[in-house]
């Protein structure tokens, strides 16, 4: 039976899919420059590749108008060469990133004119997560022996409540195929989406307190393969924000009304469900329950 060798192999070899937040609206207002952040990330990715020659790294850009694959260490299309001053990881990734950022900006132009400012748009995390999961399925398909996949979300911009359903779908699919989603969130408030993603899939959610030491956090918390994690004392969860988004205004709420037919969430009372069209009976503020009745008695 091939199970024993495959286990040895799969425990230690990682397929790390990184989603990199490139949202220009976030980085232009953030105290820590993107270029410095990127240099920490690149050093970290390089160290992953150096840990084992079988390790594989894939980088996906999470833009604010589009998402794309930036780098795949297993791809034979990497045109850069290590002979220059930079290893191929750096040159290819940076080249693709430049092209992507320019394209992302292009897509933004008509939108900004139409919308006329307002709140900065969130990054398309749902898109890059979906792409990462598709990529990981391909690794699963490649045969009984495949590296252990995990996703690392490097995110700074705030959650986009309109992506709620799509992100939850991605989380459940990741959970179903036991792919942990690690999240390193550097924004000012915690990200409810990423907290839930890491909690549900068994990954690590961490918000580094000092961005200057980012590489240290990366290499001690997020570099460990899944097998080794069982032996380490990794940062404990500081709680999970389970707030949901309402379907009517795309607001994040901690209390709301749920349609008993389709489970849509609304922030205020409606007479009719806008998702499934059910007309609600009498306005009921609570489920009548045995404990309720007991208390009144």
């Amino acid at each position: 039976m091939p199970s024993a060798p495959s286990k040895l192999y799969s425990d230690d070899v990682s397929l790390l899919v990184v989603t990199l937040d490139t949202n220009p609206f976030f980085w232009s207002t953030f105290s820590f420059p993107f270029s410095e952040f990127l240099s920490h990330v690149l050093a970290f990715l390089n160290s992953i590749l150096l840990l084992s020659q079988l390790n594989q790294v894939v980088v996906i850009a999470t833009g604010c108008n589009s998402c794309t694959y930036l780098y795949d260490s297993s791809s034979d299309k990497n045109h850069g060469s290590t002979t220059g001053s930079m290893p191929s990881l750096y040159s290819d990734l940076l080249h693709n990133l430049e092209v992507f950022l320019a394209g992302d900006q292009q897509l933004a132009k008509p939108r900004v004119n139409a919308a006329g400012g307002g709140a900065p748009p969130p990054s398309l995390l749902s898109g890059s997560l979906s792409m990462a999961l598709c990529y990981i399925q391909r690794a699963f398909r490649s045969g009984p022996i495949h590296p252990q996949p995990r996703i690392l979300c490097l995110q700074g911009s705030a959650d986009g409540p309109e992506q709620y359903v799509a992100i939850m779908n991605s989380i459940f699919s990741a959970q179903h195929s036991t792919v942990p989603i690690d999240s390193c969130y550097i924004g000012s408030n915690n990200s409810a989406f990423l907290q839930q993603a890491s909690y549900i899939t068994g990954g690590i959610y961490y918000r580094p307190p000092h961005l200057d030491g980012l590489f240290q956090y990366f290499s001690t918390v997020f570099a460990t393969d899944l097998h080794s994690r069982a032996f380490l004392r990794l940062p404990k969860s500081v709680g999970v924000d389970f707030r949901a988004s309402c379907f009517c205004h795309k607001q994040t709420i901690d209390m709301g009304y749920v349609c008993s037919v389709c489970l849509s969430i609304f922030c205020e009372h409606h007479d009719k469900c806008s998702t499934c069209g059910s007309v609600f009976g009498q306005a009921q503020s609570n489920v009548p329950s045995s404990t309720d009745r007991k208390r009144k008695a």
Binding site: K7, N65, S66, C67, Y69, D72, S75, L107, P110, R111, L124, G127, S128, S130, M131, L133, C134, Y135, Q137, R138, F140, R141, P144, Q148, M168, N169, S170, F172, S173, T178, Y199, G202, L226, R229, A230, K236, S237, G239, D241, F242, R243, A244, I253, D254, M255, G256, Y257, V258, C259, S260, V261, C262, L263, I265, H269, C273, C276, Q284, V287, D292
Partner: protein, 422 residues
């Protein structure tokens, strides 16, 4: 507690091992080989090695047929799925359940299938409740009350798997009737009976009880393990349930799992309601607080009621202080892919590719796999009618069966803004 302990370390590999271990439990002569005909799915490759037959194209065709069938049924009975179900599972533990026509015994097989069913049920019906009732010695006994935690039901059932005496359909129905008459009006009342016996030993008129069930709008379904019985058929027909008799274990599994997806809600059976609910935050792993359910100080875990800030240990539950229904929001979100299904992708026909080859991308948008078959000719692929991105067949299946997101649509904002503007 550290949640890393629970995580399976290497996905599919472990599952396979368990399956193998399952088979190894049985003696060689007890295993069934006639069914799977595994030798037929092998072929020899160039080097003489045995390989499974390449069936991707066939599988994909089957999958597309299934998808189309699903889409057409969804269009007619869209969304109207009664998702808050109150289901009693009645397990017949009369002496007929000790028969060994299913290996090792009917009882053990039922236990296994009910366990699988309970897990699947809560996956598909996050807000629903299950209760367990057993029939033994002519008496019905309530094993667990209606509740939302799969583990407690499974534990209770596994501890009580022994059989004796006669079965009594009437006693079981009367007991369940009493419990189900108390539930809120928006809930769907259901009973699923796993019946091993070929007789029922009742204290009164069973027909009367069946009429009572019908009046209380309780949908009763029966899965028989022996042979068809008139009374079971009558019960299910009268109450709008289903009746079937299992041929073997795999058939039984199929029949039981058929009850996991929500039945089409019949408008008169339950009224739609807006229920006020809270989505509590999970506290830090190191936090210490007094919970209201055990009334003692506990470290870690725990959820905080958003209205009165009191601590509870488990979800779903009802806040003991303010009465708010507390639920974990991911529980709700698990069913949202039913509400917003993604459209089936269009097959990219070979001829249109040749005509407009500039439109054809060489890699799958999702997984970056090359879409070119041997000889650099475009292979089979599909395209999303909304975002026009191309996907490989494997991604097509994964996207529709598990992910429920189109990576292309999700990663382009302009498509969103266009739809909202219109």
């Amino acid at each position: 507690m550290n949640n890393t302990v629970k995580r399976p370390l290497n996905g599919g590999v472990e599952d396979d091992d368990e399956d193998e271990a399952d088979g190894a439990d049985l003696e060689a002569w007890e295993r069934t080989y006639a069914e799977d005909r595994s030798w037929e799915s092998l072929q020899e490759d160039e080097s003489g090695l045995l390989r499974p037959i390449d069936t991707t194209a066939i599988h994909h065709a089957q999958y597309r047929r299934r998808l189309r069938a699903l889409a057409s049924t969804a269009a007619t009975a869209r969304i109207q799925k009664g998702l808050i179900r109150y289901l009693y599972i009645v397990v017949d533990l009369s002496k007929a359940a000790s028969e060994t026509d299913l290996k090792p015994s009917r009882m053990a097989v039922i236990g296994r299938q009910v366990e699988a069913f309970i897990r699947e049920f809560f996956d598909q019906n996050p807000l629903s409740h299950i209760g367990l009732v057993t029939i033994k010695d002519g008496i019905a006994h309530c094993l667990t009350e209606l509740g939302g935690s799969p583990e407690s039901h499974i534990k209770a059932l596994m501890g009580k798997l022994e059989c004796s005496g006669d079965a009594s359909l009437q006693n079981a129905l009367e007991l369940v009737l009493g419990y189900l008459n108390q539930i809120p009006s928006y809930g769907h009342r259901e009973v699923l009976i796993l019946y091993s016996a070929l007789s029922t030993c009742d204290p009164g008129d069973l027909m009367e009880t069946i009429q009572k069930c019908k009046k209380s709008k309780i949908r009763c379904s029966v899965i028989g393990l022996a042979a068809e019985m008139f009374i079971c058929k009558h019960l299910s027909q009268e109450t709008g349930g289903t009746y079937s008799v299992a041929l073997d274990e795999s058939h039984l599994k199929e029949l039981v799992l058929e009850h996991a997806p929500p039945p089409p809600a019949i408008a008169e059976y339950a009224t739609a309601n807006l229920i006020k609910m809270g989505f509590p935050q999970r506290a830090a792993e190191s936090a210490v607080a007094i919970c209201t359910c055990h009334e003692e100080a506990r470290t870690g875990g725990g959820y905080t009621c958003p209205r009165c800030k009191v601590r509870v240990c488990e979800l779903p539950t009802e806040c003991r202080i303010c009465g708010l229904t507390l639920i974990s929001s991911p529980h709700l979100a698990r069913s949202y892919h039913h509400l917003f299904p993604i459209v089936p992708f269009d097959e990219v026909s070979q001829t249109s590719q040749n005509g407009s080859s500039h439109n054809f991308s060489s890699d799958c948008f999702g997984c970056q796999q090359s879409l070119l078959s041997q000889g650099n000719k475009p292979g089979l692929s599909v395209t999303c009618p909304k975002c026009k991105q191309q996907f490989c067949l494997d991604c097509d299946i994964y996207i529709h069966e598990s992910l429920h997101n189109c990576p292309g649509c999700e990663s382009f904002r302009h498509s969103n803004s266009v739809t909202t503007a219109q």
